[in-house]
């Protein structure tokens, strides 16, 4: 697991298969490099955790946003990828908070103990 060695000065090899389209206008990100810089976090772990732990609608939105991060980054839309990353973080936070609040209300209301004849989680 060593770090990627830096390429020799000024001799980046051309990417196989040519450059992807739609790369113009991002000169400040490194011009001809399609994958330059550190990709944003897609928060997929949070999306999966909230989906499995019962906050379904927001968990699904988080997964969609996570897919958008990877999709936009691969297509050269770096600003869009960062925007989707921020949205993924927001929805993961929303689902976590809603999940905790609903869970507390649910348990505190006594519904949880009076209904289940067996555990359904």
């Amino acid at each position: 697991m060593s770090a990627i060695p830096p390429p020799p000065n000024g001799s980046y090899p051309p990417p196989p298969g040519g450059l992807p389209p739609g790369n113009g206008g991002y000169g400040e990100y490194g011009g001809m490099q399609p994958n330059f810089g550190t990709p944003p976090n897609n928060y997929l772990v949070w999306a999966i955790l909230t989906t499995i732990l019962c906050c379904l609608p927001f968990g699904i939105v988080s997964i969609i946003k996570a897919a958008e991060v990877n999709s936009k980054w691969a297509g050269g839309d770096f600003a869009g990828a960062y925007a989707s990353s921020a949205a993924a973080k927001k929805w993961a936070t929303v689902s976590a908070i809603v999940g905790v609040v609903v869970g507390v209300i649910y348990v505190a209301s006594g519904l949880a103990t009076t209904t289940g004849s067996f555990s359904q989680f």
Binding site: C54, I60, F121
Partner: protein, 145 residues
Amino acid sequence: MLTTLTEHLTHVATRAAPYWRPVAVGVTALGAVALVATVDPHEAGHYPTCPSLFITGFWCPGCGSLRALHSLAHGDLVGALGMNILVVVAVPYLLWRWGGWLAATLGRPPRRRLAPAWAIWLLLGGILAFTVARNIPMFGPLLAP
């Protein structure tokens, strides 16, 4: 009092080793798994019913996850698959990402390449299909908890 405690904790956190977060999360997760492994979710009344099942009457993609985790902790892969396939798929991924997080705090350089987006779209489609299918009586015995 609370402010002083928060300041104290922040001070401790900033001075602590950089890997304290993944280690703390790992210890907490191990504790949670130990609890679920000890207090059997297959038995009545040990845990509350899943809220979304109680409200909607449908199995959500997370229903059966505690029982699947219990079965996994006891090495019963078939039992876990019968309760919630999604959990069996998610656990290795979560372990892998936790390892990546720990490695990053230990100084590994960040990833330069992302997973292909189609893999996440496939995951999304799989979760939606799984949610629908486990509520269809024909697939219920196989997919519902």
